[in-house]
C-alpha cells in the first residue's frame, strides 16, 4: 500500500509541476497554453538523447534539456501568443497554442520516432522500492519548484513585475514596464520549468512523444483543483489527483481512473469554482 501511495504522490508531483508551469505563463498573459505538457515531453526526449545516444554525462543532458525548454518556451510566446493576445480579446490562443503543440509533437515523433525510449538513471542507485529516485525526484523537485517560485515572486524584481502584470497589464505598461519582454521571460521560465519536470519524471514516463497531451490534461486538472495562480494550490491539486488515481486503481480498478479524475474536477468547479487555494475575482459594475 505504501508503494501505491508513493507512486501516486510521484505522479502528483509531476502533475503539480505542470500546474506550476501553467501558472507562470498565466501570470503574464492570462493564457492557459495547450502546449504546457509538451515542455516536459521535449525536455525528456532531449535529455535522453544527449545522455544515451550521444553518451554525454547526465549533467550535460540536464543543461541541454533546460536550454531546449527555454527555446521552446520563448518560441511559444513569440509564435502562438504575442500577436494573438495583442490582436484579439477572444480566446484565440486556444487554437494557436494547440496548433503549435501539435506541430511540435509531430515533429518530435518524426525525428525521434514514436516508440518510447529509455531515460537514464540520474543517480547511481539500484531499485530501492519507495525510496527509489524515480518516485522522489518528481516529488522533491515539485516542492522545490513551488518554493523557488514563491521566493522569485516575492524577492526578485522580475517576479514582482510578473505579479504586477497578473494584476493589471495595462497599469504595468503605463508605469513603463515592457510587458512584451516580461511575457516572453515568463514563457522562457515556464519552458525551463516544464523541461525540468520532464527530466525529473523521465524514469517514470520514459522519453515519449505522446507524454505531453496526457500531461497537459492532468496538469490542468491539478491547476483547477488547487486554484489558478496559487503555487501551493498547484502542488496540493497535483498530490490529490495523483494519489486519488492511484488509490482508485487499487480499490476500484484502473478503468475508473479517468472518471474519478474528471469527476473531481467537475465536482470542485461546482462547489468551489475558484479551486482550493484560488481567490474569487471581484468585478466592479
Amino acid at each position: 500500500m505504501l508503494l501505491v501511495i508513493i507512486s501516486g504522490l510521484a505522479l502528483g508531483g509531476l502533475y503539480g509541476m505542470t500546474a506550476l508551469v501553467y501558472n507562470v505563463m498565466y501570470s503574464t498573459s492570462k493564457v492557459l497554453s495547450f502546449g504546457t505538457g509538451q515542455f516536459a515531453m521535449v525536455g525528456g526526449i532531449c535529455a535522453a538523447w544527449v545522455v544515451l545516444d550521444l553518451h554525454w554525462p547526465v549533467w550535460i543532458g540536464l543543461i541541454a534539456c533546460l536550454l531546449a525548454g527555454a527555446v521552446f518556451g520563448w518560441l511559444s510566446e513569440l509564435i502562438a501568443v504575442r500577436r494573438i493576445v495583442a490582436a484579439s480579446d477572444e480566446h484565440l490562443w486556444v487554437l494557436s497554442t494547440l496548433a503549435l503543440a501539435t506541430m511540435v509533437q509531430e515533429a518530435m515523433s518524426l525525428v525521434w520516432g514514436t516508440d518510447p525510449t529509455p531515460f537514464p538513471r540520474v543517480f547511481p542507485q539500484e531499485f530501492a522500492g519507495v525510496l527509489d529516485q524515480k518516485f522522489w525526484l518528481p516529488l522533491l523537485l515539485s516542492i522545490a519548484m513551488a518554493i523557488g517560485l514563491q521566493v522569485f515572486y516575492r524577492h526578485s524584481m522580475t517576479g514582482k513585475l510578473f505579479i504586477a502584470m497578473s494584476e493589471d497589464t495595462f497599469a504595468a505598461r503605463a508605469r513603463g514596464v515592457s510587458t512584451d519582454w516580461m511575457r516572453a521571460q515568463s514563457y522562457i521560465l515556464a519552458g525551463v520549468l516544464g523541461a525540468l519536470s520532464g527530466f525529473a519524471a523521465g524514469q517514470l514516463t520514459f522519453a515519449d512523444f505522446a507524454l505531453g497531451t496526457a500531461l497537459g490534461l492532468s496538469g490542468f486538472i491539478a491547476l483547477a483543483v488547487g486554484g489558478i495562480g496559487s503555487s501551493v494550490g498547484a502542488l496540493v491539486g497535483g498530490a490529490i489527483l495523483g494519489t486519488l488515481t492511484a488509490l482508485t486503481t487499487y480499490y476500484f480498478g484502473a478503468q475508473y481512473q479517468k472518471t474519478i479524475a474528471i469527476g473531481l474536477l467537475i465536482l470542485l468547479l461546482v462547489v468551489r469554482p475558484q479551486g482550493l487555494f484560488g481567490t474569487t475575482q471581484v468585478r466592479q459594475v
Binding site: 507512486s7 509531476l14 531499485f127 519524471a201 515519449d208 505522446a210 487499487y250
Partner: protein, 402 residues
C-alpha cells in the same frame, strides 16, 4: 414536305465498319492480356506509427515479387506492384483503396496491413469485385458471406489469444490469471477474448484491468493483481512503453510471476526500456513456429532459404522480426498459388482455387482456406517463446518454462 427516312433494319456501312473494328479488337485482346503485367495493389503504412514493421513487410513483399518475376512471373506474365503508403491513416487507406481498385486497374489488393486501416476498405474492395488479401488480425475483417473475395494472410487475433490461454493453463499450469490490457479498441477486444477462452475452460480471471497506455506508472495495477492472488499476468497491448512499464513494475516488486502476452513483448524496443535485462526472464510472448529453431539452431528450411537468398538486403529489416517480412511474403505467395491453380487472374476463379488448395505452405506458416472460412492460418503455426532468448539469426529455441 420533307421526307424523313428512318432505317429500322438492315446493315449499314458504319455498322459493318464498327463491327469489324470490334471483332479485330476482340481477337487481339487475349494476346494483349497474356502479355500485360499482373498488377498487384499494395497498401502499407511505411511511414507513421507502425513504420518499422511495415517497412519490413514491404521488403518481404517486394523480394517475393522479384523472386517470382525472376522465374518468369505468373502464367508467363510479369508482376507489377502498385504501392501506396497510407502512413497509418485510415482515411488515406480508404482513398488509396478506391484509387487502386477503380483507377489503377489492379488485379488484386494486398493490405492495408493493420486492422484499423483495413476495416474501412473492405466494402470498397468487395464492391469493386477485386480479390483482397487482408493483413489485419481483427476477427471482423473476414466474412466470406459479406466479403467473398477477402482472404486473411496472417493469423487472427483470437488465435494468438487462444494459444496463449492454452499455454498458461496447460503448460504453465496456472489457474489464477490476471488480465492487464490497454484501453484501445484492440486492448479491450483482446481482454474480452481472453475472458471468453477462460470461460470455455470454466475459469474466470482473478483480476482484470484496462489501463491508459500512456499512464506513467503501473505499480498500482500490478499490486492489485498481486493482492488478487494472480499466478500469471497476461498483457494485451502493442504499446511498447506500457509493456515496458509493466515488466519493470513486476521486476521492481520482485514478484516473479510469469507475464504472457502480445508479440510486442518480444520486441527489442521493450527490452531497452527495462531497468534490468533480467526482468525479461519469465516473460513469454506469442510467436510463430517459423521462428523456432531445431536442435542444431536452424530455422525451418523455407524460412532460411528466403533469408539466405536475400541476405544482402535483409539487414535493416531483421530488427522488426522474422514474422514481419514473412507476412509480406505470405500475401504474394498465397496469391501466386491461387493464380497458378486457377490458371487465370479472374478474382472469382482465384477465389475458387484458394478454397480448393489443400494447404498453402508459405514460409510464414500453413494456410488452408475453405468456402466458409477465409482465415486460413492454422493454430499450430503459433507458439509461445521466451522473450529473453532470441538468437542472433532472429529465431528462438523451443519454449522453456522458467
Amino acid at each position: 414536305m420533307q421526307k424523313i427516312t428512318t432505317r429500322t433494319t438492315g446493315i449499314g456501312r458504319r455498322t459493318v465498319l464498327s463491327g469489324a473494328t470490334g471483332l479485330a479488337a476482340g481477337l487481339a485482346m487475349p494476346a494483349i492480356a497474356q502479355n500485360k503485367p499482373i498488377r498487384m495493389g499494395w497498401i502499407a503504412a511505411v511511414t507513421g506509427m507502425f513504420a518499422s514493421n511495415a517497412q519490413a513487410q514491404d521488403w518481404g513483399f517486394r523480394q517475393t515479387v522479384a523472386d517470382l518475376n525472376e522465374n518468369g512471373g505468373l502464367l508467363g506474365r510479369q508482376i507489377e506492384i502498385v504501392m501506396r503508403d497510407s502512413a497509418a491513416d485510415p482515411s488515406k487507406a480508404v482513398s488509396f483503396a478506391k484509387e487502386l481498385v477503380y483507377n489503377e486497374n489492379i488485379d488484386v489488393l494486398c493490405g492495408p496491413i493493420n486492422s484499423g486501416e483495413a476495416l474501412p476498405t473492405l466494402g470498397i474492395v468487395s464492391g469493386a469485385k477485386k480479390l483482397h488479401l487482408i493483413g489485419g488480425s481483427v476477427e471482423q475483417l473476414i466474412d466470406p458471406v459479406k466479403y467473398p473475395l477477402g482472404f486473411r494472410n496472417l493469423n487472427a487475433n483470437g488465435q494468438w489469444i487462444k494459444v496463449a490461454v492454452k499455454f498458461m493453463v496447460e503448460d504453465l499450469k496456472k489457474t489464477k490469471i490476471a488480465i492487464i490490457n490497454d484501453n484501445t479498441g484492440y486492448g479491450v477486444l483482446s481482454r474480452d477474448l481472453v475472458t471468453q477462452f477462460l470461460a470455455q475452460r470454466n475459469m474466470k480471471p482473478v483480476y482484470s484491468a484496462t489501463v491508459d497506455p500512456n499512464k506513467p506508472d503501473v505499480t498500482d495495477e500490478l499490486l492489485k493483481a498481486k493482492d488478487a492472488g494472480a499466478e500469471v499476468v497476461t498483457e494485451w497491448s502493442n504499446a511498447t512503453g506500457f509493456v515496458g512499464r509493466l515488466i519493470n513494475a513486476r521486476g521492481e516488486q520482485a514478484w516473479n510471476v510469469p507475464i504472457v502476452g502480445h508479440p510486442t513483448i518480444l520486441q527489442e524496443q521493450v527490452a531497452k526500456l527495462l531497468s534490468k535485462r533480467s526482468y525479461w526472464d519469465n516473460v513469454y510472448g506469442v510467436g510463430y513456429r517459423h521462428q523456432v529453431v531445431d536442435a542444431q539452431g536452424k530455422l525451418p528450411a523455407n524460412v532460411q532459404a528466403f533469408m539466405d537468398k536475400h541476405k544482402d538486403t535483409i539487414g535493416p529489416y531483421m530488427a522488426a522480426g522474422i514474422p514481419a517480412f514473412l507476412q509480406g511474403n505470405a500475401a504474394v505467395t498465397i496469391y501466386a498459388e491461387g493464380v497458378k491453380k486457377a490458371g487465370d487472374v479472374d478474382p472469382f476463379k482465384v477465389k475458387a482455387a484458394l478454397e480448393s488448395i489443400p494447404v498453402i505452405n508459405a514460409p510464414y506458416g500453413p494456410f488452408i482456406y475453405t468456402p466458409t472460412d477465409h482465415n486460413g492460418f492454422q493454430d499450430d503455426g503459433i507458439v509461445l517463446v521466451n522473450a529473453n532468448a532470441q538468437l542472433p539469426n532472429g529465431g528462438y529455441p523451443p519454449v522453456k518454462i522458467v
